[in-house]
């Protein structure tokens, strides 16, 4: 039997969206291959999550152990090495997330299974898989194939890349898999979770966000955009490079590792539109993007686009807004 195993991702008691996305893609693949879909769930006291997963797979492979209470790459790799070695799935799917990125590459290397990371497309082809990845920061797509012949393969799937399609529920059976973990000391140990500091302004509550990216070039250019934001009644936000350079606080960052926002209006200025940023703002009511590169991915998600040098166009827009507001 051709089995696909999705590794469920959960944190602080909740299954993460990428799990449902992978199960949806995994189901389509397993149906086209005439195989079966399993989902592996590792943790402590996982009954509720296991029940929630049942309708989405043919079986839930449940590995419970007190040592799995918090994610740890070492315990995950030990458990999954045993699971994959025993079940020999044709495909193992892991999220390309902060968690999946932390164990998939070393797990694949350990098991000597070929791995393709950060896939946005996965299709079965000639007893293997045809993949789509993004390169050059999302500006280019690449069609990729496995060079090493399986029969086992592994992929990490980009979060948000695979839509969740509702289908007839499956009667997933819970299979209790014994944990191979012992009290042997680990070289890496989980200590704690830490929440990011709360900022002065909560960008998730703003109706209008004026957001800047790498294109702003220098901290001293920020007042120009801040003035525009003030004249519109908007709040200043940003993409990752602006926070990396310490020009704005982390609490202003929109994106996967920052905040997810849904304002009425989102103006993206000098933001190329890397998927990590788009994931945090695609739910905005209206998106206006200003970028000098006509091929910037941000234009694929925006409703309105302006190809221009922001330093030339922003002052004109700012003056226009100020002038028309007065009249």
């Amino acid at each position: 039997m051709k089995e696909i195993i999705v590794i469920a991702e959960h944190r602080q008691g909740e299954l993460r969206d990428v799990t449902w996305e992978m199960l949806s893609k995994g189901r389509q693949l397993s149906e086209s291959l005439g195989g079966e879909l399993s989902v592996a769930l590792l943790g402590k006291d996982m009954k509720n999550l296991a029940e929630a997963l049942k309708p989405k797979a043919n079986r839930v492979l449940l590995i419970e152990d007190n040592r799995l209470e918090f994610y740890n790459s070492e315990t995950y790799e030990k458990v999954l090495t045993q699971l994959v070695t025993e079940r020999k799935p044709m495909l193992t799917m892991i999220g390309h997330t902060a968690t999946g990125m932390d164990f998939a590459p070393s797990l694949a290397a350990h098991l000597k299974i070929p791995l393709a990371t950060d896939c946005i497309g996965i299709d079965s082809k000639d007893e293997a898989f045809a993949l789509t990845r993004q390169i050059y920061g999302g500006k280019i797509n690449a069609a990729v194939s496995f060079l090493k012949k399986g029969p086992q393969y592994m992929v990490t799937a980009r979060a948000g890349a695979f839509p969740v399609v509702e289908k007839e529920p499956l009667s997933g059976e819970i299979v209790f898999v014994p944990s191979p973990l012992t009290d042997e000391a680990l070289a890496r140990r989980f200590l704690e979770y830490m929440e990011a500091a709360v900022g002065e302004v909560d960008i998730t509550q703003a109706d209008i966000l004026i957001s800047i990216g790498r294109g702003i070039k220098d901290a001293e250019n920020i007042p120009l955009v801040k003035e525009l934001a003030d004249s519109i009644g908007g709040v200043l936000a940003c993409s990752r490079p602006v926070v990396d350079k310490k020009w704005l606080p982390k609490s202003s960052q929109v994106g996967t590792s920052g905040k997810t926002v849904k304002p009425k209006i989102y103006v993206a200025i000098g933001i190329s539109g890397a998927f990590q940023h788009v994931a945090g703002m695609k739910g905005a009511g209206t998106i206006i993007a200003i970028n000098k590169d006509p091929k910037a991915p941000i234009f694929g998600v925006a409703q309105y686009g302006i190809v221009a040098d922001l330093f030339k166009i922003i002052p004109v827009i700012k003056d226009k807004v100020k002038g028309l507001k007065k009249s």
């Binding site: 060079l147 350079k245 190329s272 694929g300 028309l324």
Partner: protein
């Protein structure tokens, strides 16, 4: 503390208008500027900060052609002690897995307490090389690290998770960490700084120096291969606002007003 940092020289495509070359498998690189991979610039800075605080050495490694010397010299100018380049015609076309094998074999011969890499590269974006190396060298790893605190024979590291959450772990040394952008502020390197290290030797090592067989490296030693590249479909795409700046500004104002802005 002896630290090894693995780096890569990449084309700067963040602001560039890029196009696909004739082979259909890569982009036109002719007009592009190249620089040290952004993640790696934070990794080398972190290594030098640790050296300044704790003493020891920083060694930089890169798998790449002679062009890579430029980025290796930048690292030397930042404060690294030694730089090595791993280069061989047989290394061509390698994916993240094959690249990790080359780097791991080169590192195997050296004493180290800590290995740092960038979390991923700007070009391929595999996010894979560091962890595969750690596995090949049988040392523990921590990925996506945005804060480090060195303790007795171990490191306390903060991992960046989604939504502003961080995971704090401790890991025994020797270990490999993949470094996230924003962990520090990479120092500026002046032209004078580069000149000072211009004569410093950068030794190159090939497949035979590393006891690697041709089938273990490059394209034959890779998990995956690239078939072709194409521009991402833009979906419906944005309605482009065109005209003189004044006209564009008017259109923006009208949209803002219509959608509930500029009250």
């Amino acid at each position: 503390m002896n630290i090894i940092v693995c780096i890569k020289r990449v084309p700067d495509t963040a602001d560039a208008d890029i196009s696909i070359d004739k082979s259909g498998k890569d982009i036109e690189k002719g007009g592009l500027a190249f620089d040290l991979n952004e993640w790696d610039s934070y990794a080398i800075e972190e290594a030098i900060l640790l050296k300044e605080k704790l003493g020891g050495t920083v060694t930089v490694l890169s798998a790449g052609g002679e062009d890579s010397n430029e980025s290796l010299r930048k690292c030397l100018a930042m404060g690294a002690d030694e730089a090595f380049r791993l280069t061989d015609p047989a290394f061509a076309g390698g994916d993240g897995f094959a690249t990790a094998r080359i780097l791991a074999e080169a590192i195997r011969k050296k004493p180290y307490d800590l290995i740092l890499t960038g979390t991923q590269a700007e070009d391929d974006g595999y996010g894979q090389v560091g962890l595969v190396m750690a596995e090949m060298l049988s040392i523990p790893h921590v990925s996506i690290v945005n804060r480090i605190e060195v303790q007795e024979k171990k490191i306390k590291a903060h991992r960046e998770l989604e939504g502003g959450l961080e995971e704090v772990v401790e890991v025994d040394l020797p270990a490999l960490l993949t470094i996230q952008t924003g962990i520090n502020e990479p120092r500026y390197v002046s032209i004078m700084g580069i000149r000072k290290v211009a004569k410093k030797e950068i030794k190159a090592f090939g497949a035979s120096d590393l006891n690697l067989k041709p089938e273990e490296v490059g394209s034959p030693g890779s998990d995956i291969q690239l078939e072709k590249i194409f521009l991402p479909p833009v979906g419906e795409g944005a309605e482009m606002l065109e005209g003189k700046p004044e006209e564009i500004a008017q259109k923006v104002f009208d949209i803002l007003k219509d959608k509930g802005g500029v009250a």
